[in-house]
Structure formats: C-alpha cells, structure tokens
Symmetry: C2
Subunit: 442 residues, 2 copies
C-alpha cells in the first residue's frame, strides 16, 4: 500500500522589486514568491521516480516564511495517509485540512493558514492528475457530476446553492462538451494582458507595450490606477488612443478607495470607456462593492484575487455586487473551493475572469477556466484569463500563449511544478539569485 511519505517545503523568492515589474498602487515593490510544497509518496510515478504532487502559496515577499510555517502546520494531517484512499476522496482530504479543530482558529478559512491548505490541496490534485495521466483540466472534466459535487465543502453555501442544484447544472453542462473540447484544443482559452499597465512604467513604455499587446493578438489589456487621478486620466487617454475603440481596457485600483472615492474616481475615467474597474475597495466589503457597482454602471465591477473564501464570493453574488468574478487558484482553499466558486458563478450567471500573473498563477489557473468551459458554465462569453509575461521559465510545463489565447496544457498534472534549478537558485535567503542581491535581503 502506497502512502504520502513527506511534506517538503521551500521558501522561494524572486527579486522582482528591483525591476518594478508588478508595481501597483497598493504594492509598490513586490518580490514575487512561492511558499512551495511537495507531497512525496512511495508510489511509482510515470517518469520512473516516485509519484509526487507540487503546489505553492503565492506571496509578494516578506511573510513567505509565515506561509512556509503554515504549510508545515498541516503535516500531521497529510504524512502517513494512504495514497489510494486520499486520491479517491479529495473532497474529504480538503475538508480534513480546512477543518482541523485547532488550526481553523487562525482563520477560519482565510489568511495564511487557508492559503497553505490551498497549496497542499492543489498539490494533491497535481498528484491525482499526474497519477491519472491527464492535465488537471481534463482530469476534473472527466469526473462525473456527482464526483464534482462531492469535492465541495457545502457548509455555508446552501442558502445560495444546494448540492442538488449543482448536480442539475453539471448534468446540463454535459451537452455539447465534445464540440467545446475540440474548440479548446484548436484555439485555446482567451487571455488578457496586464503587462503594459504597471504603475511604475513611463508613459512611453505604457504606449509601446500597449501597442505590442494588440499586435500580439490580445483584445483586452489592463492598467493599474489609484495612486494619482491626473496620472490615471492621462494614462487611460494614452492607452485608449493607442488601441482605438475596439480593444477592452480594464482598470485595477488594488483596493485603494473608500466607496465614495471609488465611484467619483471611476467616473473620471469613464470618457475612455474602461471595461471594468477591478478591486475598487476592500475585498471584504460586499456591501461596498454593491454600492460602487450601482454608482459606476455601465462600467463593470470586478473583484476576487483577495477574496478569502467561498462564503464571501457567495455574498458578492447574492448581493449583485460584481459583474466579473476573479477567482485566484492559490488564495481560496485550492481546487475544491474553486469548484464551489465556479458552480456559484455559473448559478448566478456571472462570468469568471481569473486573477493570474505573479509567479505560477497563470500556469495553474488556466486549468480551472478550461474545466469551467468544458463542464460547469460551458461558456466563454466575456471570459478571459489574466496573463502576465513573467517568470514562466521557472516551470517545467510553462503556459503557452498564441494570438492572445492560452493553449490547453497537455502534460499530466496541474503545471505547478517548478524546475529544480530554479528551486535551488531562488531559495531564500541562501540561493544564488539572492546572494547576487545581498543588499536587498533583509
């Protein structure tokens, strides 16, 4: 009988703050980082080495070590488990992790402890799909509706969506699946790019990168806003002039505003047709987002990358607070909680446009959107996955973008695996990449 034999952790950080890639109004100097976890087993893997599952918490630098400690805190729930039984009930595995009676005091189901549970749950899905010989999107789409429903922790959801309603939704979504799968293989899943719009970039760089994005086939770009109104109006105007009327330009305030300021500031940008305003205020503020949405329509309201769990997403949907739901693969409780969120979004008819970028977020979240297209919402209308051209070279199975589309991954697993040489070079604080930048190591 094979089992999970070890929970291995790595503190991985990239010195991105030196280049100002990723700068925005709330995060001026991120060092994109991963609290990285490997679930080791004694089962034989497809490459001859023992089977393993990889996952990570994404952070932006300081505090990554707190997430590593939070990963380690789950060891007693993971090591020594029977592998077959675990893979046969990944919903139960996830509920064991998020339900630990002592650890949940640190949440419940939010913050560092929940992000760590997510990384471990995602690593278990990497294990399961690798063992099954399928990329994760196909592994999930090949489950029966009942198996998908059983992945979800239904606690706190049933006033909005019941398991039976989800079962109906999933059963209906089976229609047309083979056509959608053929289309996914042929064209991929649409992306938008945030690359031109970081707040630290000059106007010239903004305009140049915006034009390049359109030339590369993207039909939506995103600009960071929220630090200075005059700058934002000028940058929005320059971007609109550069792309013309048909390219969608989203703007992202990264939680900078109170409700009234969000409405007033967004209205100043309205002449340049922003497609959505993202994170106008606190990610915890369901009622605030509802007020902002009422105040800025027809500009859409989007949020989700910092939304902590399914309970807050449920309320954003119940309150009619958002037009676009931006799930993140690594903040809420992993694949299982994201399945719940995809089901909620489909039930309420709200498109999901995942948050990505950072390090590795594009690699993993693409699987969730492709699963959604095949088996849940069965729809691509107004749905795009964020894309940022950073740090993909560190992954064994990096994303492939063609003409503004994510191409469907074909390698088995969740695409979360980092290259061994990258794990070594970017280990914090002793890896070679950090010893070159010794002056910024705190």
């Amino acid at each position: 009988m094979a089992g999970i034999t070890a929970l291995e952790t790595h503190d991985i950080r990239f010195p991105t703050s030196i280049e100002l890639d990723g700068s925005d109004a709330m995060n001026p100097d991120p060092d994109y980082s991963a609290a990285y976890v490997v679930l080791r087993t004694d089962a034989p893997g497809p490459d001859g080495n023992p089977l393993a599952g990889h996952g990570f918490v994404f952070t932006i630098g300081r505090g990554n070590e707190v997430c590593v400690a939070a990963l380690r805190a789950h060891e007693h729930l993971v090591v020594g488990r029977d592998l077959d039984a675990t893979l046969a009930d990944l919903g139960g595995f996830a509920r064991d992790l998020t339900g630990d009676s002592q650890l949940r005091w640190l949440g419940p189901e939010k913050g560092a402890i929940h992000m760590a549970a997510a990384a471990i749950i995602n690593a278990a899905f990497d294990l399961a799909s690798t063992a099954a010989g399928k990329p994760l999107w196909r592994y999930l789409a090949d489950l029966t509706p009942r198996e998908i429903v059983d992945l979800v922790d239904w606690r706190y959801l049933t006033d909005a969506l019941t398991p039976d309603q989800a079962l109906d939704l999933l059963t209906k979504a089976r229609e047309g699946r083979s056509e959608r799968e053929a289309e996914l293989h042929a064209h991929g899943y649409p992306a938008y790019t945030t690359a031109p719009g970081w707040l630290g970039y000059s106007d010239d760089k903004l305009v140049r990168l915006t034009r390049e994005a359109v030339a590369d086939g993207f039909t939506q770009i995103k600009l960071k806003v929220g630090a200075n109104l005059g700058d934002d109006v000028r940058r929005m105007r320059l971007a609109r002039e550069a792309v013309g009327p048909d390219i969608r330009i989203a703007v992202d305030a990264n939680q900078r505003w109170d409700v009234d300021a969000a409405i007033a500031w967004t209205r100043e940008l309205a002449p340049y047709q922003p497609w959505w305003i993202e994170e106008p205020t606190s990610p915890d503020d369901v009622l605030g987002h509802a007020a902002v949405r009422a105040g800025v329509a027809p500009i859409k309201v989007a949020t989700g990358e910092h939304v902590q769990n399914r309970v807050v997403f449920k309320q954003l949907l119940q309150a009619g607070a958002i037009d676009i739901l931006q799930l993140d693969a690594c903040r809420v409780g992993g694949v299982t909680e994201n399945v719940a969120i995809l089901l909620l979004a489909a039930h309420f008819g709200i498109p999901v446009c995942p948050h990505a970028g950072g390090v590795g977020l594009c690699e993993v979240v693409q699987h969730l959107s492709m699963f959604d297209y095949l088996a849940v919402s069965a729809d691509k209308q107004d749905r795009v996955i964020e894309y940022v051209d950073h740090l993909h070279e560190h992954f064994v199975d990096p994303v492939r973008i063609r003409d503004g589309y994510y191409l469907a991954p074909s390698i088995p697993g969740f695409s979360a695996r980092m290259r061994p040489d990258s794990l070594a070079a970017y280990a914090f604080p002793d890896g070679a990449a950090w010893s070159r930048h010794a002056e910024v190591v705190r």
Copy 2:
C-alpha cells in the same frame, strides 16, 4: 533618545484539552495558547527595569507557531523605532504594521498576519499606558476626542461613519463622564459566565455550575450548542429550570450551521427563552446573519469573536445583521481597530458584549469595555463582558470579579503581562508543563 530595542517572542501553550475545559461544537479539544510578544526598550520603567510592552495572539494550540512566525515578520517595522515618536502616534504605528506592502498580501487585515499585528499593537498600548502610569482603560479615556479619532484607520469606513461624525459622538460622550467613572470604581462592569455550559460537561455538572454561577451573582450564563439537537433542548431545559425565568441564558453554536439550519435549530430552543444565539453560522457571512436574525427574532443574534476586521463589522451593522457585537481584543488589529469598532457600534446603537475566556482575553478586553463606557457609548444597558474562570493565575494583573462584575483594573498597563514562571513552564514544547504531558505533544 530611547527606542524599541527588541521584539521578543514566546510560544506558550496550556494543555487544556486534557480536561475538556473549553470544548464546544467546533472546537472539541483546544489547548489554549498564546503567541506572546514583548517589545523591549532602553527607556527606564516604573519598576526600575527597562520599560517593556506585552501582548499576545490567542490561539487554541496547533498553529501557535505560525503566529509566532507572523510576529517575527513584523520585526523590521518595530525594532529601532524612536520610543517617544511611536507613543505619540500609535495610530500611525498601527497603520505601518497593517499596511506593510508585502505582508498585507497574507491578509489583507485578516488571519494570522493580522492577529500578529494586533498583538504588537496591543503591546505598544501596554507600553504607552505603563509609561503614562495608567491602566489602559483610563489612558484611552483620558485622550481627547481628536486623539481618539486619530488612532483609527478610516480606510473603508467612511461610507458608514466619518471622522467628523466620530468626533461629534466622542464629544457628546464627555457629558456625565465623572459620574460614570465613580460608578465604575464602585461597582465595576457587568460580566456573564460561560463556565457552566461547555459541551463536554455532564448534565449534573451543567446544573451544578449553573446554580453556582447564579449564587456567585451572575445574571447571565451561556451554553454551548450545535452538536446534537436533542442534547441541546435537554440542556437548555435543565439550565432554565435551574435558574428560573429571570436569568439570561445565551446559547453559542460556534459557526456550526447553514442559514436554514440555524433558524430551525434556534426555534427549537425558543421555549426556554434563549437571550441570544451566538455564531449561528460563518463569521464571514454578513447576509447570512441578516437572514438568521430575521428568522429567529425576538431571539437576538450575536457574533464577532471570529470577525476578522472593522470592514466586516461595518457591514454587519449596515445590514442590520446583529443585535449584539462581540469584539475580541486579540483577533482584529488591536486597540486601534477595536476603537473603530466601538465607534461603529455606538453610531449604530448596537451593544458590545466582548468575547473573552481563552487565556488572557478577559484580562485585556475588560479595558476596552470600560473605555467604551466612559468615553464612547457611555452606556451599560444590555452590555456584559464574557467571563471564564480559567488560567488567570498566569497573569501579573489578573481580572478581579465580584458579584458578577469585573472590577476596574488599577495597575498601569493593559494587564497582558504573563508571570515569568508561567512563560517558562508553559513554553512549547520544552516547558515543564509539556514534559509532564509528553504523550500529547505532537
């Protein structure tokens, strides 16, 4: 010029799970714990030793080490600061901690990273009030309305309460202050006790402890519910028979239910007149609490011990979702965020009945209620502080209860300081208390 010279941390755990004290439907076997922090300075203190400030994160065992790591993650924001400048702008100090551009990714303002910031902020208030020679409740009440307003991080609050409205509220509350202070000195602040009602206790123990509580002068008790409906109805009936019609009996479900179940279960207890139903569902579910409140009236709805920050409390008040607000001194971002929450509650006319118990929570939270009575709500109607008779012996300035009232602390500081021998004995995993229970150390 004196400064903060060190941020010292301790992992302190009490093996309470062995006695089943503190058991409830969600937390069957807690080991009450503290991620304890000391801010050391090189300024002379009142006792001849250098001035220091003490604070802690309360947890229930596993994961305490994650909170210790989260405390350490703030060191760069604390050590080396000028002491006078820090104590002169504790609001700014708190905003520096909760606003760190990289650490906030782990929240923002929630979970382990926020609880750690809270402990450090509380330690700074212990420092400030110790240096001022006043117990914290008096230190806060002696601030001017403007100084109190400046403690608050107003971001995300202004759609519900503006700084000017808060200033008016605080100014009006100055009337009658000296009479209230005299009354507080004479009688103290009312308490209720959870001691009889832990889920692990037998019926006999429940009835005996309930009668003892009434004999000790308490006019409100609390029972844990939510594991088994038949048991809950029987325990509620036994308690009601034991105390008669005039003693308030609150019930606490510790987040066990979905919305519909919360309403149905609470109605089954209605014949025995529960005073409030506490934590009927997820602490994140503002809209869910509003639905429960509508479904169980006139039974009151209470929540707050797991509410993560002021933004969620704001919405609970805006949505009319609660009758009773249960702030916790050690979960939201310390004294400064609790001042915001007290202001919001007073503005909306909702009584605050703090969560306490655990280890040290009674010691610290009493100061906040007494400050509220003197300077914010100026009201004690329907306000009671939770009291549990656990672990007070480990504190230098333990709470004093007389006839069901908390007596006003008189020793300068925040009463957060643990005795040095307790810090040594309950250090995890190497303290003497744990070596005696080696079999339960994981």
